[in-house]
Amino acid sequence: MTNTQRNTTVLSILVVIIFSTGAILVQNVKKKLSEVQAKNVHLKAEIFKYDKLINMQAKLEKDFAALRLLIAEQSKVLVQTDTPAGTFSYLLKILKWMNTNINFDFAMSKSESVGANWNEYIISGKGEYFKVADLVKQLEYQRALLSLEDVSVTTDPSAVSDTVYFSIVFRTHYTLQGTEIDAINKKNVPPFAPLYALFKPRIWEKPQETLIDPLLIDVDTALLIGITDSRVFMRDTYGIIHIMSVGDKVAYGYLYAIDKSQDKVIFRLNEYGTQEDRTIFLKKK
């Protein structure tokens, strides 16, 4: 092989190397360029989309503000997260809104976090029926979505007023898109209206002593010492003489009538839940 041939061969190899290297470099640059250009096109498209979204920002912000107001005034909301502490705090908040106090035990009984999200709680205690009924109403009608699964109320056998034992099982439902439980404000729910002690026994075997006003005279133990046409004189166990006329209050009732001719007086009493007339005669000395 001559030098010229050798040189040409070397040059040819150089050409091949230059071509290969150059082609690879150019291809790499082109590839990078096309990648960057594709990214740019993609970014432009995304920016175009976002531009359209951003154009709606003012309207959406207005809507969102309105939504917040709406949620604040909404009849019912799902809370965002629920914990026993959160729910207990909410219960205390309700009591505060009710401006009352009911003592109760509190415990969580169940929890469901797959699909439906809720925690189940039990509260039980003793309280006045009106307050308990009002608590039930508030739990049902205040904004946080609590579903009352069970409500049980029973008379307090030792109670002489309208005190009841109660237990309530309820579920606090929550969802991630919900409202923070602390952010829930009060809804104006009228208190439990009927003023009737539903669980208060109306007839009983023994007098309900706790109901007696200690200042009133007990006709069963007092002594009738004198009668006029319009007045009655009675001495109580302490020796105090009470002067009464028709209509005056006594323990469990009032003075109904005076019959001077027969030396008797009639008291109308409600000592056992039903009205009874008690007649007392003046004993002749």
Binding site: T4, V29, Y50, L53, L70, I71, V114, T274
Partner: protein, 719 residues
């Protein structure tokens, strides 16, 4: 292209004498650095087997190499078969690789051919050569030629055959693995004529003769002024001729050439000595006979000792060769070179032929194209990257804003979903206040009555109370639906008759829907102002007739919906498509659908129309209303199932479970389907085990049911 060097080695063979002259150049000054001579065992050029080259005694160790060996076949292995010869010491002791080499060619191998022109075209030259050489030598390329002008008459000097001096130099080069550069292989006459003409002053007019008296090379070069007029070989046959013979031959040659005695006779060569010069002076009384003392040369100061002019004049031939090689230039007179082509070619390291130029051109064009292309694309890439950075920055900013916008939109959407969920959860729930209020009011109105106990029963609630009037109990039993008087017993308290009663009721329906609907309407009003497609149909179904007008109004909303779909829900769609293929077998339609006059059937059909048209909001609205309005209807199960199915398709798991919960408690006609769907919801919400348990219960309890096939497929699938 000759190599420019500062040192030249001139080798001249003359019979058995091989002389070396080393000259150097510094600027315009040329110095003789060294002069050496070796005696050969035999002359290099003898036309018989070269016993001088090959040692007979070595043949017993030889590898069959012969003296006739062509140099092309000569390899380094052959070197070992040669004895070290005197000239090898000459070669090896001098750094030949440091400079250029000049050597002479044998005078007997030269043919002088007169030609008409000093510029001989290659074709004519080849023709002339072919005519004067054996065809075998011509084809082998064993010839070199140069055009030389003597007395301004151009001649083609043709060198034929081998150049033995070159061959032994090559052998030395191969054995020492050194790089030699051969600058010149010249004829003795032209080398001497060049140096002699150069040494004469340009204005010289006198006739002169340079008489070289070597070992075998005896020659007279006739000059007129500084022009080479004639070249006269001195034909002497004896080995060491005496001066008388030489002079007589010179006289004969001059006479034959009709050349008068020169004004000056310069003598050089091995036989140039005082005696001979004296003799010539006597014979040529009209001529000045002088020893040719080379002018223009300075002796190397380091090697000056030992070289007298008488010694130097013996080395005129190698000095002339070395000088010519050192100053090798086209301006030199009598430029000739008989180096073989392959040597010249081999030394032209960077020579490029036409194909090389073509390749170079291609390389240039290619490089230019690739460079332009690369730079162009690089520029574009830089611009694109810059744009990308700018876009990325803009994208980041806008994405943050858009995310906030989307979050708001999603929050608004989610709120609608929450309201629907609340509606669903509250179905059949929270009747307690209603019950207590009713009981309290009613017992108050019917004295003397009170309750002793109030508790939840299996599907309702139970009250235990007392009343003094037995007729009151009948009244109390009418307060709530599905009342059952479980027990009435008589009691006496202080002679008063009281009646203790126990009544079991179903829960009354509390219309929570109306309360929530108020909230939903407020939200819908807001969304209506955004006019998102799909939701507007919930508020007010759009007839086909007014659709264009509506769509014109709702363009912005539709755009938002599209964007949200494209950004957030693309993958959702794919998953949804897949899900639809998993359970694409609908549950069988209820049998009650034939009762056309039943309003519940009509509402159910409306509900299914919305379901089939994928009007989700309409469907949910109608479905929830249906559940509230037609409480005991068996179609409710179907409504609940389809509501749950669509919600599951939309990747909602909370609401469907609340819808399906009552159906799981009370098995009905579509109970297996309910189990299957509930299992699917549990699986997709992450509770795979629970889902699979439900499916297994389907296979266990309803192995022949049509849904069992779907359930088997689902069990094979990975979530």
């Amino acid at each position: 292209m000759p190599k420019a060097s500062k040192i030249a080695f001139g080798f001249a063979e003359d019979g058995i004498s091989l002389k070396l002259a080393i000259i150097t150049r510094e600027g315009n000054q040329v110095f003789i650095k060294n002069l050496e001579q070796v005696e050969l065992d035999n002359p290099l050029y003898i036309h018989k087997p070269q016993v001088a080259v090959v040692d007979e005694t070595d043949k017993q160790f030889g590898s069959g190499a012969s003296a006739d060996m062509n140099m092309d076949e000569f390899t380094a292995e052959n070197i070992a078969t040669y004895q070290v010869k005197p000239y090898e010491h000459l070669f090896r002791n001098n750094p030949l690789f440091q400079g250029v080499i000049a050597l002479n060619v044998n005078k007997d191998n030269l043919i002088r051919l007169p030609i008409n022109t000093s510029v001989l075209p290659p074709k004519q030259r080849n023709k002339l050569v072919r005519e004067n050489l054996p065809i075998k030598d011509y084809r082998k390329g064993l010839w070199q030629s140069s055009v030389v002008a003597v007395n301004e008459q151009p001649e083609l000097w043709l060198h034929r055959g081998e150049n033995r001096l070159l061959e032994i130099l090559e052998a030395s080069r191969i054995s020492t693995k050194a790089n030699y550069y051969y600058q010149l292989a010249d004829a003795n006459e032209t080398a001497l004529a060049s140096l002699f003409a150069y040494s004469l002053p340009a204005t010289a007019e006198e006739s002169s003769i340079l008489l070289h008296l070597g070992v075998e090379f005896h020659h007279a070069l006739v000059f007129k002024g500084n022009k080479w007029f004639a070249s006269l070989p001195i034909q002497v046959t004896q080995h060491e001729p005496d001066i008388q013979t030489i002079y007589s031959k010179l006289s004969f040659a001059l006479d034959e050439a009709h050349i008068a005695d020169p004004q000056v006779l310069y003598v050089c060569g091995d036989l140039c000595n005082e005696d001979n010069l004296e003799y010539l002076k006597e014979q040529l009384p009209n001529s000045a006979v002088r020893m040719w003392e080379l002018t223009g040369f300075d002796l190397d100061p380091e090697a000056a000792t030992g070289f007298s002019p008488a010694q130097i004049v013996r080395y005129v031939l190698p000095i002339a060769l070395a000088w010519k090689a050192l100053l090798y230039d086209k301006t030199l007179p009598h430029l000739s070179n008989f180096l073989p082509g392959y040597i010249i070619e081999g030394q032209k390291v960077f020579k490029i032929a036409w194909h090389g130029f073509l390749t170079l051109g291609l390389m240039f064009a290619l490089s230019l194209y690739l460079t332009v292309s690369y730079l162009g694309n690089s520029l574009k890439l830089t611009e694109a990257k810059s744009q990308y950075k700018s876009l990325q920055s803009e994208f980041g900013r806008k994405k943050a804003r858009a995310d906030a916008v989307l979050a708001m939109a999603k929050a608004i959407d989610a709120q609608a979903g929450i309201i629907e969920a609340i509606k669903t959860i509250l179905v059949g729930k929270n009747p307690w206040n209603e019950i207590l209020t009713t009981l309290t009011n009613d017992l108050k109105a019917h004295p003397i009555s009170w309750l002793m106990n109030f508790k939840r029963a299996k599907d309702g609630f139970t009250i235990i109370g007392m009343t003094t009037e037995r007729s009151n109990i009948v009244h109390f039993a009418s307060l709530f639906p599905a009342a059952k008087i479980a027990k009435v017993t008589r009691h006496n308290i202080r002679n008063n008759t009281v009646w203790q009663f126990e009544i079991v009721y179903a829960f009354p329906v509390v219309n929570w829907y109306a309360m929530m609907e108020k909230d939903a309407q407020a939200l819908k009003k807001m969304e209506e102002s955004r006019a998102l497609p799909g939701r507007e149909t919930v508020v007010k179904p759009v007839s086909k007739a007014n659709q264009p007008a509506e769509s014109a109004k709702s363009g912005l909303g539709r755009e938002l919906s599209k964007l949200k779909t494209s950004i957030v829900e693309k993958t959702e769609q794919l998953k949804q498509e897949k899900k639809e293929t998993v359970i694409d077998r609908p549950i069988p339609p209820p049998e009650l659908l034939s009762a056309a006059d039943d309003p519940s059937v009509k509402d159910y059909k409306d509900f299914m129309t919305a379901f089939n048209k994928r009007q989700d909001w309409v469907m949910i609205d109608r479905g929830v209303k249906f559940i509230n309005n037609y409480s005991p209807s068996p179609l409710i199960s179907y409504v609940r199932w389809y509501l749950s199915y669509r919600a599951w398709q939309n990747k909602e798991y909370y609401r469907p479970l609340t819808w399906l919960e009552p159906m799981l408690k009370k098995p009905d006609a579509i109970y297996p389907y309910t189990l299957m769907l509930t299992g699917l919801i549990y699986r997709d919400s992450g509770d795979t085990q629970r889902g699979e348990d439900l499916w297994k219960s389907v296979l266990r309890d309803y192995p022949q049911h049509p849904v069992a096939k779907t359930v088997r497929e689902l069990l094979k699938e990975k979530p």
